[in-house]
Subunit: 315 residues, 2 copies
């Protein structure tokens, strides 16, 4: 029986194997995803992003517990961008989630895709689809928000929570418009620390500058102490409020269409890239180009144009 | 007169304009790059990477001063990955470089490319080529090492220096193999701080585990206080030693070929992607696919295959 069928029957082990195939970029995963696709679109996706050390994993742990208490099945996709500098930390954090280890209503996967650029947002979307097909009501995507890649990842979420902490010093001053644009909800975690009120106030001031027009969603700032569970219920209520707003205002249609476009274009770009590599492998094209670049008789820009013309013909 | 010709005549203003066109991804920049390419390959490229707050900008400033004192022209490409969390800081750092502002032998550009994934490493290579064509002897690429994108960027450098600081706490423990692989030289900056010796010792221990075979380059750990200029000359000597090793051992040939391949493939992928967007724009293909995805009658994997077959024919 193919993985897809097993996943639709709620088989956790088959889902785990399919996700590993996705992470490893194996071609057979695509056939399973094709079969799953028509049965997806039910899960509500929540993105959690913020700088290293903001306590995102603990927050995700608490959100998971809260949604479980409401009878919801929860999937968690934790993204490890295989940073050479913070790489190991995230896996360590995962250990904290252990209290859900024996709960069949919780499914946690770490994605560690390295290499292919743009591949990470595609794999994340694909893994979220598998969790969706598996029957998870809530899918939480947790990512360290450090680069454009990670920003693209959270764009797949219906509701994005940006998590900050007090005492980041200059860094908090350095927040640019970018962070305000991706957050539907802002969280100041570790709110028992000195400077929490100041951080919240600064965020509020920045948000006021870009007050949304009437009828639009206005992001609010929440304070939490994830370690002690303080502020979690308020945060969950706000997430549900944002979901209601998406639906009642009709903005969910635009959101879904834009998200589908990004997902489709990611897939298309990946496939295209594989075709080019195949094409160049058929003769010694790449070798000839690299030799030419080496002695400066060929430039890579003209070479790329020639390869494309060869592939696409004179159309 | 096209920019390319002006750049080859050493016109700084034309070079700045061409770099802006590259950063903005304007098609006409490609014609200039084609003309410049045969005249490049002279500059020595140094990559400086490390976590935020490691003092990379100050170090780059000191390296620039040292190479200038040796009569070398220095270009600096500072990469701002437009992180929503650290975005503003890097531009602020640039102000410190002001002491070179009136020196015609120093050319500094910040790259802020956002959006297109993989675009950043391509733009960086292109901008480094322009600096090369302009006659810069040394090109320093400075990037915050946080994700795969940034790791790809420093792979364009002949010599990569990985900069660490004492007191990163747990983070230093979290260093994985990745960081060891990209560094040709390791720098513990802010070496006057508590824990500098411990950080250096830990790095040394990790490096010993992967002692290179005889005849290969063995990365060393250097301590610097960039703020006071301490340790800079030793670092510069080591960089020059690494350059000599690359040449005398012949590994430079492999390095250049791999670097050229990445650059070419980046360009090819970009061009191909533009072709696909053009192709889909000719009729309502994308619109039809997105509508189908919305009501789950089309899956994005099959849709991508169909578009590719349409573009490439039955080959």
């Amino acid at each position: 029986m193919p993985f897809a069928e097993q996943v639709l029957n709620g088989d956790i082990r088959a889902a785990a194997r399919l996700m590993r195939d996705i992470d490893d970029n194996r071609p057979q995963a695509v056939d399973d995803l094709k079969q799953l696709y028509p049965r997806t679109g039910q899960a509500y996706i929540i993105g959690i992003t913020g700088p290293p050390g903001a306590g995102k994993s603990t927050l995700v742990d608490q959100l998971t517990a809260s949604f479980r208490a409401k009878g919801k099945k929860v999937g968690v996709v934790a993204i490890d961008p295989t940073s050479p500098f913070t790489g190991g930390a995230i896996l360590g954090d995962r250990i904290r989630m252990n209290r859900h280890a024996t709960d069949e209503g919780v499914f946690i996967r770490s994605l560690a895709t390295r290499g292919a650029m743009g591949g990470l947002s595609r794999s994340t979307s694909d893994v979220a689809l598998v969790m969706d097909a598996l029957g998870m009501d809530i899918v939480i995507i947790e990512t360290v928000g450090v680069g454009q890649d990670e920003v693209d990842i959270v764009k797949a979420a219906h509701t994005t929570c940006v998590v900050m902490v007090p005492g980041l010093g200059d860094d908090i001053q350095a927040i640019k418009a970018g962070i305000l644009e991706i957050g539907d909800i802002f969280v100041v975690n570790k709110a028992d620390r000195d400077g929490a009120d100041r951080t919240a106030r600064e965020l509020n001031t920045m948000l006021e500058y870009r007050m949304a027009p009437e009828g639009c969603w206005n992001p609010q700032v929440f304070k939490t102490e994830a370690q002690r569970g303080t502020g979690i219920e308020e945060l969950v209520s706000e997430i549900l409020l944002h979901r209601d707003h998406l639906i009642s205002s009709g903005t969910i249609d635009t959101f879904l269409r834009e998200r589908d476009e990004r997902h489709f274009v990611d897939i298309l770009r990946d496939s295209l890239y594989k075709k080019v590599l195949d094409y160049m492998a058929t003769d010694a094209t790449l070798d000839r180009i690299l030799t030419g670049m080496g002695n400066r008789t060929i430039d890579p820009y003209s070479a790329a144009e020639q390869v494309l013309e060869g592939m696409l013909g004179e159309r």
